[in-house]
């Protein structure tokens, strides 16, 4: 990591250890809450929500590698916030289009006053190209009809970026989440975070609500998805690190048959293997952030590589974590289960291992 990144990491860790350790997540879960407005305001004050917002729009514009550093630190302690939806994906989408409306919207992201959610997926798998939600031309605007599922941060969102199919092709709309005709149902997610099913019934949208051009959603959305996938990979790498840290601590402390279980060579080798895998994944994650900063148009391979590796590593880390903790790892009173459930959700979000493996294959000529 660069010196700047190391400083950012240290600062983030310092803040989050105080403001949002895993016990903070447990508190939200026990209270049935999926958002902490005070925490989000603090993130805004530190410039995190504006990490990808240009400085002239009020952001800190630190870039994707920095966004990855923040996401990774959040992953370590399961920090709950709309950071990826809003500060990473919506900000990246909005900054693809330079006008007064997007500048204002980006400013609102940077100052923490607005939460965005991406309403893209419709079936059980991530598949933007398969979008069926209809945008039917109606005078100068459109009427949107259809259902979006797995809309992460959808229940807490102020605004939605909605992917719809118009006659001219896929089109991206930026509309308020409470517009007439929109119904939102929060889902009871296993990771106790915000994801919603959002139904659109003849929702009116004007031409001004279109982000970018009609029929050309991907010019705006693809960079946003890539950015989100890279940051999510970073979060998952952090998650794996957090789970692994708990596990190593347990191996050193827990005694069984009279000795620390960390003396059992079979466990040592599995732990060492997991550490090696984490190191390799860390490289892919770092590379994805840098590629996005340097050459976003050609970053797809790097991003999918990171998401695929992070998915596999996080899965390994939580499975080994629960198994090595034994019975206690299965109890709700212990935190390891939180990591396992979060790992499963983010494995699916924005494309699973197989989805990204196929993107890697396509880029490498398979």
């Amino acid at each position: 990591m660069s010196e700047d990144e190391t400083m950012l990491q240290d600062a983030a860790r310092g803040f989050l250890d105080g403001a949002a350790p895993v016990s903070h997540f447990r508190g939200l879960r026990d209270a049935g809450a999926t958002h902490d407005a005070a925490l989000w305001a603090e993130m805004a004050a530190m410039g995190w929500t504006g990490v990808l917002v240009p400085e002239d729009a009020g952001g800190s514009d630190m870039g994707h590698a920095a966004a990855g550093v923040l996401a990774q630190e959040m992953g370590k302690t399961l920090v709950t916030s709309p950071f990826l939806s809003t500060a990473v994906m919506a900000a990246t989408a909005l900054r693809q289009i330079a006008n007064d409306r997007t500048k204002e919207a980006l400013g609102n992201i940077a100052n923490g006053s607005v939460i965005y959610a991406l309403a893209v997926d419709e079936t059980h798998k991530h598949d933007p190209d398969g979008t069926t939600l209809q945008a039917v031309a109606d005078g100068n605007g459109f009427r949107l009809t259809g259902t979006k599922g797995f809309v992460v941060d959808g229940a807490n969102a102020d605004r939605l970026l909605v992917l719809a199919r118009a006659e001219a092709g896929l089109t991206l709309f930026d509309i308020p989440a409470d517009r007439t005709g929109i119904t939102r149902a929060a889902n009871a997610m296993i990771d106790a975070r915000d994801a919603a099913t959002v139904t659109f019934s003849d929702v009116q949208a004007t031409g001004d609500d279109v982000l970018g051009h009609v029929g050309d959603a991907m010019t705006v959305l693809q960079p946003a998805l890539n950015a989100g996938q890279a940051a999510l990979a970073a979060e998952m790498a952090g998650l794996a690190t957090g789970a692994f840290g708990m596990t190593i601590g347990y191996l050193k402390e827990r005694k069984q048959f009279g000795v620390e279980i960390g003396r059992f060579q079979a466990l040592q080798h599995r732990a060492a293997h997991l550490w090696c895998e984490s190191e390799v994944t860390a490289s892919a994650v770092r590379n994805a952030g840098r590629m996005l900063d340097q050459d976003m148009a050609n970053a797809t391979l790097a991003v999918s590589l990171a998401k695929a590796r992070a998915t596999a590593t996080a899965k390994l880390a939580v499975i080994e974590g629960v198994q090595m903790h034994g019975g206690i790892g299965m109890t709700d009173a212990f935190d390891m289960g939180f990591y396992m459930k979060r790992a499963r959700v983010v494995a699916e979000w924005l494309g699973d291992y197989g989805y990204h493996a196929e993107r890697v294959a396509a880029a490498r000529g398979f």
């Binding site: 296993i190 019975g327 790892g329 299965m330 289960g337 396992m340």
Partner: protein
Amino acid sequence: MTDIELGAFRAETRAWLEANCPAEMRDGIRDEETICWGGRNWQFTSAAQKTWLEVMAAKGWTVPTWPVEYGGAGMDRAHDKILQEELDAIGARWPLQSFGIWMLGPALLAFGTHQQKLQYLPPIARGEVRWCQGYSEPGAGSDLASVQTKAVSDGDYYVVNGQKVWTSYADRADCIFALVRTDPDAKKHLGISFLLIDMDSAGVSTKPIRLISGSSPFCETFFDDVRVPKSNVVGTEHRGWDVAKHLLTHEREMISGGGAGLLGTRALGAVLAEHEGGMDAVTRAEALTCEIDSLAIGLTLERYKDQAESGGGVGDASAMLKYEGTELNKRRHELLMSAGGADALQWEGTHAGLAADWLRTKANSIEGGTSEVMLSIISRRILGLPG
């Protein structure tokens, strides 16, 4: 016995079941909701459930291989197999399940006195008393012999103090069979007794354990100066570990078989095909491999059952069955979650239960002896590697 005799038994059994198994008990569903656990406080979910238990218990068919005097039907394996096949053929529910049938019964048959058998087995067979198991203790983990719960002698009684964990359904059971330390000065494995304790005794309390998969049948069970008659010791005093070891082997077979029972019913491919959309190459490949392994492990369970029936027993190889069955079950559920995608990530909705089942499988390779313990058993006792 001759094939003719067995054929006659099959015909009789079929006719009797046809006449006596209530239609509502023939839906073949054997999930938690439909199980009859019995016990003092059992509330039958339907009149049919009650009838089904009563007629089966009257014939000794809730525990067909137990001796008649202890509530069974004294069947040999050949007859038992026919009965099971005929029950399966009409999709009959089990009339009764319990830890009494699975675990305490076999232990009493092997180690109990005649008096103990007469006292405890028939109520189990009739579903009148529900038992739970008290082995694990907090912090003990795989080291089951590190029993801290104390049973101090006081005349004809023991006074029991301590705590158990992972006692399934302790909050609903009538009695518990537990390992307690009766000789604190003896070596670890030599001071333990196998003790039967009524849960209604003064000083017994329970507290449910919440799992990562949600609510669970598991409890913590506390003993606070609980007085238990010494006649409730099964087997020799201080030698309860022998009984426990016998049961642990039995438990391993049960857990591995449970996993495979699930497997046998439906091809993984059929389950996956229910989820709309095709499978990516990686998921499909894992599904193929998993299906192959499922079938082969199913065949292995059958092979070992044959071997056990022909008198060879299973012995330490039960560790293999437990290891392979539970690790496979974890892989299967990872696949099912992957096939379900975003739909499988909710506690409720169209895929309700899938995530909870997936999380629950993670305990399969921990409970009843971890996979690591299984591998160590195989390494030492079967492969003869130095320990």
